[in-house]
């Protein structure tokens, strides 16, 4: 890992801490209130706040996870740094696509 990747990983980690805390708090709230999927979707539908919140979440998690996977591959697989980097970029893009698809399903549907 070089200094650029190090800073991106720390920065996204710092961003993810409050995002994860709120995410878990919302899960607790929704389950304790006995809300159904339909109840939740009715609240998130058309909400720019939740769309923005989870779009940022997806972006931060994708960058953070991809850098971590790159490190794991560099250290524990036969891939060299360049190939591990290419794999990590592909992995990160997949996380972005899957994550944004989920956000769209919750906000737009």
């Amino acid at each position: 890992m070089n200094v650029r990747l190090y800073l991106w990983q720390r920065l996204t980690a710092a961003l993810l801490v409050p995002l994860v805390v709120v995410h878990i708090a919302v899960i607790f709230y929704a389950t304790r209130q006995g809300m159904t999927a339909a109840d939740i979707l009715s609240r998130t539908h058309g909400s720019m706040v939740w769309a923005s919140y989870y779009a940022v979440f997806v972006a931060a998690a994708s960058i953070h996870g991809a850098i971590g996977v790159r490190n794991v591959l560099t250290e524990w697989s036969p891939l060299n740094d360049r190939r591990a980097g290419l794999f990590a970029v592909a992995f990160g893009l997949m996380l972005v696509a899957l994550g944004l698809r989920a956000v769209a399903a919750v906000v737009l549907s």
Binding site: N2, V3, R4, E75, W76
Partner: protein, 240 residues
């Protein structure tokens, strides 16, 4: 004589095996004493390195019962559980023969991490005035007592996983020079340690500081380098 020790020594190069020897146990016996006994009395073809025998030269480090140790200052009584000793070459370095490893990559990485003093003045300039209690001078103590034994390098998980990682000794030396007010090579040094294989690869497992025979703390030095290099990158002083 107190009894006998069962000692397994690595014989051969990368492909080799442990062979067992019986060595008389003595008071205040060091691991190096044991290895020397085998070479002088049981098998003169045994290869190993030592020089000073008093913990100054850093040449006698070996793997003792699974952990890297300076053998001349490691008492058998402290490490031989049940009278058993297994002594091998240092990990993370290629084995030349028996207990000797090729230390060249270890020292080459000191060069790559710019662990060499870069003078900023000439002999015609006045001697630098440095307060002994200044924060930079205190931080520069990090590697001053390092004896280049390679124990931290052999103990490091990151070195084992990433062949390009500079390792604790080289980075601690770089941190000492980063804090040396007389040194003029910090731009190139921070550039070197901020690259792949540099300080940011460290996982802070702290095996280096746990096993350093000089009780140095390379993990703290590397953490300092991480902060300094990150700040230099954010200021645009270095690039990736």
């Amino acid at each position: 004589m107190l009894g006998e020790l069962s000692v397994s020594l690595w014989r051969g190069a990368e492909a080799g095996r442990y062979e067992t020897y019986v060595v008389p146990q003595r008071e205040s016996q060091t691991v190096l004493d044991v290895v020397t006994f085998v070479q002088r009395h049981l098998d003169p073809t045994l290869s190993y390195r030592f020089a000073c025998r008093v913990g100054v030269c850093g040449s006698c480090a070996m793997t003792v019962n699974g952990k890297p140790r300076w053998t001349c200052r490691t008492h058998v009584s402290k490490v031989a559980g049940g009278g058993r000793l297994e002594i091998g070459p240092l990990a993370n370095l290629a084995v030349i023969k028996d207990l000797t490893t090729d230390m060249a990559p270890f020292f080459e990485k000191w060069q790559q991490a710019k662990g060499v003093f870069a003078p900023s003045k000439t002999r015609h300039d006045a001697i630098a005035q440095i307060r002994p209690d200044s924060p930079a001078r205190l931080a520069a103590d990090a590697a001053i007592e390092c004896i280049n034994c390679g124990v931290c390098y052999a103990a490091c998980d990151t070195v084992r996983w990433n062949a390009e990682y500079f390792g604790p000794a080289a980075l601690t030396r770089a941190w000492t020079l980063v804090n040396d007010e007389r040194d003029g090579g910090n731009a190139a040094r921070l550039q070197a340690v901020a690259a792949f294989g540099g300080c940011h690869a460290c996982h802070s497992h702290q095996s280096c500081q746990e096993l350093c025979p000089q009780a140095l703390n390379p993990t703290a030095a590397i953490a300092g380098l991480k902060r300094r290099a990150a700040a230099a990158y954010l200021k645009g002083e270095i690039k990736t």
